[in-house]
Point group: C2
């Protein structure tokens, strides 16, 4: 189910250095979840993950704490 997968995604992002959505999709497949990049893209949106560029220049996905100042609806 979706919720399950998303829980794993969070774990993965926290532990591994995921640099692309394909990479994440692969990692998920390793865990037994058969997903494609399309789905990962949607999960990422749902979970509010984003690519951040570390000071070293490499980019990777991270969980994003909600920190909005401008309205959102």
């Amino acid at each position: 189910m979706k919720k399950n997968r998303q829980k794993v995604i969070i774990e993965l992002v926290k532990t591994k250095r995921i640099e692309t959505q394909e990479e994440l999709a692969e990692a998920l497949r390793d865990q037994g979840f058969q997903v494609t990049q399309a789905t990962v893209s949607r999960d990422i949106r749902n979970l509010n993950l984003t690519k951040v560029s570390g000071s070293d220049g490499r980019q990777h996905y991270t969980i994003l704490e909600q920190q909005e100042n401008t309205v959102k609806k």
Copy 2:
């Protein structure tokens, strides 16, 4: 100069709802900065901006507070 432009970028992101880098580039051109998407991409990396997906589904760029738990070097 670069620093100037980046200051404006932050303002723009805070005030307007910038959804793509092209959009940001345009906004900058309105302010008198002649830039292309390539440069904006680099600025965004430098400033640690990222696209976040608001609860409503729309995505836009935001300033990202550093909130890393996993190592970064």
